[in-house]
Amino acid sequence: MHRRLGKKLPINPPGLCQISIILHFFWEIKVTAVVLLLPLPLLLKELCASVLASIVLIRCSQKEMAEKGGKGFSLPKGSLKGKDDNSAKSKQGRKVQIDFEDVSDPLEPNSPKTNGKVNTPISKGDSGKGGKASKAASGGKNSVTKAPSPEFKIEEELPKNVKCLMDCEAAEILQGIQDRMVVISADPSIKIPISFDSGLTYAKRGGTFSNPQSVRKILEPLIKYGVSEGEMCMVANLKVESDDEVFALVPSLKSEEGKLRDPLKTALNELAKIQSSV
């Protein structure tokens, strides 16, 4: 082996040859390392550049999103609000509420009527109960955004052997029972239920009419104009002050508004007289 090597490399003595081989080996390693390492910074540079570029791109897109984003999200709401002209101008904070209204807006025909009314004459003029109530309602200014107002149809839901009672009538009956209860209450097994007390307190609230018969006599003529007994009782219970108030609170009467307005006005005037005399 040595000889052959010596033959092949006659100049170099065998020891030197080994060294040169080792050196050559190391040289090759160095070269390969250099070859390998040389592009590394370049690669790193490229990598850094691409990362930076992507960050810049992401930031830009985020900026764009932020700029457009608000409008983008509000657009659907705006489009929802498009149904409602006034509400479209309202603040963002109200959007949720308006959406709620829009979703549950099955009785849209009611709102234009109430809009048209604007309820100013009573809310401004009156300082009484109705005035305050209407003030609270008109305080909401955007009465456009109204809650769904279901129709008041009790006749369909109740059995036939039912008589609607005005609060004053109920108060009279319940008061009579309570007076009798004082006598009966010696029997400890009979207890007055809570609903009786709360019912009586409710029926007697706000000083109802002292003479229920006369109230019924005043309001009963309205039945021939298409007013149901339930609606009649509600008119008596609420002690309304104007015909506009009645038509706003009992929308089912609006269909008969034309022929009902005058008799209703007279009835309300009569009721006011009774109330003032109490």
Binding site: S134, A137, G139, S149, I154, P159, F196, G199
Partner: protein
């Protein structure tokens, strides 16, 4: 709204109550059983006002009990969708407020309170208009409209709104003080 209605119920009576005052015993048992109860169809039975008829008793097999069909007149209170009620506020929180109209509980969500009324927390939580002229707090009287009802075994619970014309506060306890 209050109603006067004729209802019917089968009353079971133990034989020990039979005698001259059987009818009185039946009536007092009926009052105990029925008054204060609540049903989805008729609402709260507030008070029994009279007995229309007491039918013939039927002995139940195997027991000494006798069943009497009793027709009675009573005053009931039932809220209806679309009805306007005047209720007293019992609790106010940021979700809305609770009110009572007779035996009925009503919840008015803040979505159904006019937009310009904002919740104010504090010792007396309340909803107030921006100018402070209208305030809803505990014991305030409000006129509201019923928009939904839920009937439980023992109570009727309603959802109301004051977001409409002529609805809202009718008397404020703060204004008198």
């Amino acid at each position: 709204m209050f109603f006067h209605i004729v209802l019917e119920r089968n009353m079971q009576l133990h034989p020990r109550h039979f005698g001259r005052d059987l009818r009185d015993k039946l009536v007092s048992k009926l009052m105990k059983d029925v008054e204060g109860t609540c049903s989805g169809r008729h609402g709260f039975v507030v008070a029994i006002t009279g007995i229309e008829s007491v039918g013939k008793g039927l002995i139940r097999d195997g027991t000494g009990f006798v069943t009497f069909p009793v027709k009675y007149l009573c005053v009931v209170f039932r809220p209806f969708k679309g009805e306007i009620l005047e209720a007293v506020v019992t609790m106010v929180n940021k979700m809305g407020f609770f009110a009572e109209a007779g035996p009925v509980q009503i919840f008015v969500s803040n979505h159904l309170i006019p937009d310009d009324m904002e919740f104010q927390s504090g010792d007396v939580p309340n909803y107030t208009t921006s100018d402070g002229s209208v305030k809803i707090q505990k014991d305030s009287e409000v006129r509201l409209k019923i928009i939904g009802t839920r009937v439980d075994a023992t109570e009727i619970f309603c959802i109301g709104t004051i977001k409409d014309d002529f609805l809202g506060v009718i008397s404020d306890p703060g204004s008198t003080s």
